[in-house]
């Protein structure tokens, strides 16, 4: 199996840490041998603000590479609001674009609707390389990181939490997994 680079937004990490409070699942994803995680400085800063960050601090330091050579987020800063910039969604888009141009295999996780819309309008070539946190759970199931029961359990926890996602999207994924694909 080919190794793929994963570029999650901060919501992905915070979903496990703060929303469903199940960091053990995040640790398993981070340790999957065919995923290489990368991030940017702003996203990292946002995750570090979580009161539970210390639980996964060591794992993040070991498994997530911080892109440091270029401050990619600066390229997109004029196009996003101050609040959006603080969350770092623009950083995921910028890193994704750079990796696409460099022809590196990657999958990015973006949950913010406006950021997704911006990406679709300006970089339609990479639209198929983008998923949401809940969509990524389906990918984890497909790769057998989690069993069917575990995946459904995680998705149910997300559904009940304050994580911002349309319930219908989660229900569709649960249905697909339950029916087996």
């Amino acid at each position: 199996m080919q190794v793929i680079i994963i570029i999650p937004n901060s919501s992905f990490y915070l979903c496990f840490l703060d929303d469903i409070m199940a960091p053990q699942y995040l640790v398993r994803i981070l340790n999957y041998e065919y995923f290489n995680f990368v991030t940017g400085k702003i996203i990292l800063k946002e995750i570090e603000r979580s009161p539970r960050y210390r639980i996964i601090k060591k794992e993040i330091e070991r498994k997530v590479r911080v892109f440091e050579y270029l401050d990619y987020g600066e390229i997109l800063r004029p196009f996003f609001s101050i609040e959006e910039i603080k969350k770092g969604e623009h950083e995921v888009i910028a890193i994704s674009c750079i990796l696409y141009i460099l022809e590196i295999n990657f999958l990015a996780i973006i949950d913010d609707e406006q950021a997704i819309r911006f990406l679709k309008r300006n970089f339609p070539r990479i639209e198929h390389k983008i998923t949401r946190t809940v969509g990524f759970m389906e990918e984890c199931y497909r790769r057998k990181i989690f069993s069917k029961e575990e995946t459904i359990n995680i998705l149910e926890l997300i559904k009940k939490s304050k994580f911002r996602v349309k319930k219908a999207i989660i229900e569709d994924i649960i249905k697909r997994i339950s029916e087996g694909f």
Partner: protein, 186 residues
């Protein structure tokens, strides 16, 4: 790129790379200035060579302004047409290809080119006013209070609407831009 190159030669090289990375002219001198400014913000190494000062039209480099017309190292590499569109001459294109060839194995150089391509893809789409408005608002530390910026502020709603229509800004950014004034935070 090699460190021992003269500062001005390095600036000319950055200009050649930005102009050559996409096969169409940069829309204006202002676009050339601001796109290299964004590059300097994104790439600490480039910021060592590309120096910008406060100006009534936002960040400005007198070196870039001079070298596009009179390059000191790569003579006849650049061309600026009557509408201000900047491009590489045939000679400039050959120099671009040579620089790319010399650095083709350097991963940081590849990242630099990718970043330049991304800058071109986005910022070339902006009109001159849209570009200057976005840069003025995002980097207030590089603007001088001027009648020019006042003119842009007078049509901020129109500019913000046009940016939103093109899909170049998010709705939240639209709201910030449409209500922007001198005291707004950035």
């Amino acid at each position: 790129m090699q460190k021992e190159l003269n500062e001005f030669e390095m600036i000319e090289r950055y200009m050649i790379l930005l102009l050559g990375v996409v096969d169409r002219p940069i829309p204006s001198r202002e676009h050339l200035q601001k796109e290299l400014f964004i590059l300097s913000k994104a790439n600490p190494k480039a910021s060592g060579f590309l120096k910008f000062k406060k100006h009534h039209k936002g960040p400005f480099s007198s070196e870039i302004s001079e070298l596009i017309d009179k390059p000191a190292y790569y003579v006849n590499a650049f061309s600026v047409d009557k509408r201000g569109r900047c491009s590489l001459t045939e000679k400039g294109k050959k120099i671009y290809e040579q620089i790319v060839k010399e650095n083709s194995e350097d991963p940081q150089f590849k990242e630099l080119l990718a970043a330049m391509k991304m800058i071109r893809e986005l910022y070339d789409k902006l009109s001159k006013d849209e570009l200057l408005f976005l840069i003025h608002v995002t980097f207030p530390e590089f603007r001088k209070k001027s009648t020019y910026f006042d003119k842009l502020l007078a049509k901020k709603k129109k500019l913000a609407k046009s940016l939103l229509k093109k899909g170049l800004i998010t709705e939240k950014r639209f709201k910030e831009l449409a209500s922007y004034n001198y005291n707004s935070k950035q």
